[in-house]
Subunit: 565 residues, 2 copies
Amino acid sequence: MRLSQFHLRTVKETPADAEVVSHQLMLRAGMIRKLAAGLYTWSPLGLRVLRKVEGIVREEMNRAGAIELLMPSIQPRELWEETGRWEKFGGQLLKIRDRKEAEYCYGPTHEEVITDFARNELSSYKQLPVNFYQIQTKFRDEIRPRFGVMRAREFLMKDAYSFHVDEASLADEYRNMYDTYGRIFTRLGLKFRAVSADSGAIGGSVSHEFQVLAESGEDAIAFSDGSDYTANIELAEAFPPGPRQEAAEALRKVETPTQKTCEDVAALMGIALDRTVKSVAVMGDDGFVLVLVRGDHVVNEVKLRKLAGLADYRLATEAEITTHLGADPGFLGPLQPRADITVIADRSVAAMHDFVVGANENGYHVAGVNWGRDLPEADIVADVRNVVAGDPSPDGKGTLGIARGIEVGHVFQLGRKYAEAMQCTVLDMAGKAVVPLMGCYGIGVSRIVAAAIEQNNDANGILWPEAMAPWQVAVCVINPKNDANVAAAAETLHRELNAAGIDTVLDDRGLRPGQMFADIELIGVPHRVVVSERGLAAGTFEYRARTAADAEQLDREALFARLRT
Amino acid sequence: MRLSQFHLRTVKETPADAEVVSHQLMLRAGMIRKLAAGLYTWSPLGLRVLRKVEGIVREEMNRAGAIELLMPSIQPRELWEETGRWEKFGGQLLKIRDRKEAEYCYGPTHEEVITDFARNELSSYKQLPVNFYQIQTKFRDEIRPRFGVMRAREFLMKDAYSFHVDEASLADEYRNMYDTYGRIFTRLGLKFRAVSADSGAIGGSVSHEFQVLAESGEDAIAFSDGSDYTANIELAEAFPPGPRQEAAEALRKVETPTQKTCEDVAALMGIALDRTVKSVAVMGDDGFVLVLVRGDHVVNEVKLRKLAGLADYRLATEAEITTHLGADPGFLGPLQPRADITVIADRSVAAMHDFVVGANENGYHVAGVNWGRDLPEADIVADVRNVVAGDPSPDGKGTLGIARGIEVGHVFQLGRKYAEAMQCTVLDMAGKAVVPLMGCYGIGVSRIVAAAIEQNNDANGILWPEAMAPWQVAVCVINPKNDANVAAAAETLHRELNAAGIDTVLDDRGLRPGQMFADIELIGVPHRVVVSERGLAAGTFEYRARTAADAEQLDREALFARLRT
C-alpha cells in the first residue's frame, strides 16, 4: 500500500470532546469519525486495524472448532417475548416498527435467534456438541454513549453459542472457549486477565470476563497476591469479618453542624474512618431500605440487586428520605427503627461495635452505637460492599489488590435458561426429548481496538501491538521528487518487504520528514525504515522501532533479519 | 473441513412457500433459514458461499484502487433531510426512534453518510479522485419481501462512492468501475450483461446495470442483434414509428358485450391486435389522465413517470373512471374529449389510423377511429411503452430481442446532486471552493448467491461456478467405519488437496453412498472424488464433475492434474 493512494487524515490538536486517550488518539489518527451519538464511521485506517482483530478472532474460533454463520441484525419481537426479555432487557434494546407495524429490535445479542435456529436445525444428540459463532454488527441504545468506540451504540461483536446434552460437555466447551480467548488476546499482544464475573442480564451460573488491563478501565478487578484468585469487583466476595467485640463506649450525641460525609465526621471527631457507618437510602419492591456500609467502604450495586426485592432498586429521593427519617441526607442512621424501614447491614457493619452513625436529626451524629444495646440487629446482614485493596483474598490465600480493566470478552455457562423458555429440545441416546444446555461467548471486536490503545500509547501516539497494527512497517522516503534513485529504492524495499509477508506501507506522500514521522508515530506503526540519499550512499537504511529511543543504521540483510523476528 | 465437524442439514422435500428455484434450493441445501419476513440466517454452508463472493468483490475493488471503510448501519434523520430523501425515499426506508426520541433510519444506501464523511475529510483537489467502498449490511423495508435472499429486507451490499473535481475524472472512474464489475462477474463465473439503465431513486445521468441472465429474472433486457445495444426495458427507447397514413374507414360503433380486453375485441372483430388501442386510466398531479398504447404493447411505468405531473401517478379507481368517462374499465377510450381529462398517446398510437378504442359505453367499442377527424390530436405524444422483441433497435442497427435478468450490480454517475445538497466542497487548483462530482457503484453481494443458482441448477440441485462453491472438491469416503485403510486414504487425500490450495471437504459422516452423493450434488460441489476399498485396491479414485454424466477412474496423478485445471 502507498500512502499517496490511501486516505490518511491526521489531526494535531486533541479533540475537545474526547475524554479518554484512546478516543483522542483514534480521532487524531483519523481512524474513526463520529456520525451521531455513539455512531462512528471506521475510516480506511481504522478499518485495517479492526479487520486484523476480526481476522485473529475468526482464525482462533475456527481452530477451536466453532462454526461460523450469520444471523440478521433485525429480530422479531415474538422471539424476545418467548424469553421475557422484550420487557426485561431495558432501554438498551432499540425497538423498531416496520411499515406494517410489526415490531422488531436491532439485536444487542442473539440468544433468542440462535435458540430459534437450534430448535429448527438440531434434532438429535448426534449433532451435539456444536458451537455456532458470528462476527456481526450489534446495537445497544446506551443512555450515555461515550469514549468513542469503547462504549458506542453500534459496534462489532463476535458472539458464539454452544449446545450440549450434558453438564460435562458444556464444561468442556466452556474451558475450550476460555482457552481460546486466552490465545486470542495473547496473539493480539494485550495484557489481560480472565476474571470471575457476574453474569448479569445474559444470565447463567458460571461466567468469566476477559479484561484488558488499563488504568483508565471502567471495571475494577480484584486479584490476590497469594493465589490465582481474580474477580470483577462486582462479584468479588468480601472476606467475612471476625466476631463482633463487646460494647465499650456509652451512646452519645455529637454535634456535626456541616459534617455530612463519614470522612468529615471522622476528621471532626479525630477517629478512624472505619469506625463510622454510611447509611444509603434506597427504594426496593417493598419500600424504604437503609443500606449500611463502613465509612471506608462503598455499596456494591450488583450484590445489592441480588437480594430479595432489590433487583430493580433505585436511590430514594430527598422527599422520601425526609418522610421516613425526618432528616437530610448526610445525617441518616439506623437508630429509632420503624416497621416501614428495612435495615440491611453489610457483614462488616454487623461486626462493628462502638460505631458512629447519623442521628436522623440535621446537624447531629451519634457515637458509641452498639447492636443489640442501642438498636435491634439489622433485618438483613449480607455482603453488599466492594472489596478494597488490602482485604484478605476470599479464598483465604493472600491479600487483594485492585487493578483496572476494560472488558473485551465474556464467557457464560447459560444452562437451560433460553432453551427451556423457547422449547428447544433434542432427542438423547434413549430417544427422549431433552432440553440442551447452552454456553455463550462474546468478544467486543471494535472495543478491543480502543482498549489496546488505552493500554499502549505514549505522548506521540499509539503503540500498536504487532498483530493489530494497520501496517507492521512504514517505509518513509525522504524527498522522493528530488531523487529518483531514492524513490526507486524505497519502492523496491516496500515491494520486497510485502513479498516477504511483512505488511508494509510506503509513505510516498512527499511530506517533510518531521511531518511524515509525526504521522507514522501517531498512527502507531511498530517499525519505521527511512530511505534517504545519504543512507543509500552508505548502503544502509535507518531503522527505528516505535518503542525505541534511537534509530539504527542497518544494511539490507540486518534490516530484514530484524523485521522478520 | 470435515463434514462430521460441520453443520450440514439438507432437506429432500421442496419447501411449499418457496416460489423460485434458488429459494427452493437454498432452503433444501440448508444455506439459509428464515427468521421473519425478508430476514434470513445464513447457515455455515450458506455463509461459505457468501464469503467467497464477498472475497472476490473485495479483491477486485482493492485492485481497482478503491479504499475500504465501514459506515454505521444506523443513520440520523438530519442527513436525510439535507437531501430531501427522508420523505422522498418512500416506505422502503425503515425509520427508527431511539430512547431519546431522536430519529434514525437503517441505511438502505449511504450517499448521505459518505457525503457527510467527504465534506469533513476532503478539503483539497489533491485528495481527489478517491473511491471509498464498504461491504455492509443494508435494510430495505420491502412491502412484499420474496424469493428468499433475492429480495430480502436485510441484505449484504458492496457500495462504493467516488469524488472528482471534473467530469473527465468521473468518467474515468466510472469506466474503471464498469470494467471492474465485468471482472468480478467474470471471475464469479456468471453469464451477465451490462445494460443501460434508469437511475431511479439514486438519481444522476448515466447508469448501467449488471444483470445475471436467468429465465426467472424480474428484469427484462432489450438487446440488438445488429449492434452492442443493451438496455433495461425500463429505459429502452422504442424506435419511432413511420408517418401516419390517411383515414380509410368510416367511424362505426361495434357491439362488444363481454369483450373487455384488446385481445378479445380483436378476436371478435377478426382483426390484428395492433389495430386496437388500450386505454389506461391513471391519476397524476393534475387529475385524470388516459394513457393510450397499442393493443399489443404495455405501458412503461418508468417512462410514464418521467412526464410532467406523473412522477407519483397511480391507477385511477373504478369510481374515478366512472365519474370521468361514464363507463367501466374495458370499454374506455379517448373519444368525447373533456377539459378535465389529459390524453397521452404513445408515439405508435399517434401514428395509427382506422383504429379501435372503447366507446366509453359499457358493451361497446368504436372502430375506424382517426386522429384529427374523429377526435383532436392527443394532448401529449411520447414514448410510454415497453419495447418488444422484433422492434427495430433504437440505434437503428438490427432488431431487438428480449432476455431476462437479475440485477446484481448498478453503477451511476451522480453528478453534483448529493454534494451540492449537502454543501460538500473542496478547493480546486486555483484555491476556489468547488462542489465535487460523485459516482456510486453498488453490488448486491447476497443477491448474487441466489442469482447464481437461478442461472446454474439442475434436477439434482445447485451447479456452483467454481469460484463461488462452498468447496471445490468433496472427498466422499465409503464405509469409513468398516475399513480403516479407506478412512485413512480419504483423510490423506483431503489433507493433500487442501495443502495444494484446492478447497476440499471430507464427507466422513458415514452415510450410505446414495444419501451422501445426493447431499453433495444438492449443495453443488463442482468435483466429487470417491474413496472406496475397491478403488484403493486398483490404485484409483472415482472422479466425477458435477456437470458430467459419468464418473471416471483416475490415479492420484491424473486426479490432481484434473483438479488443478
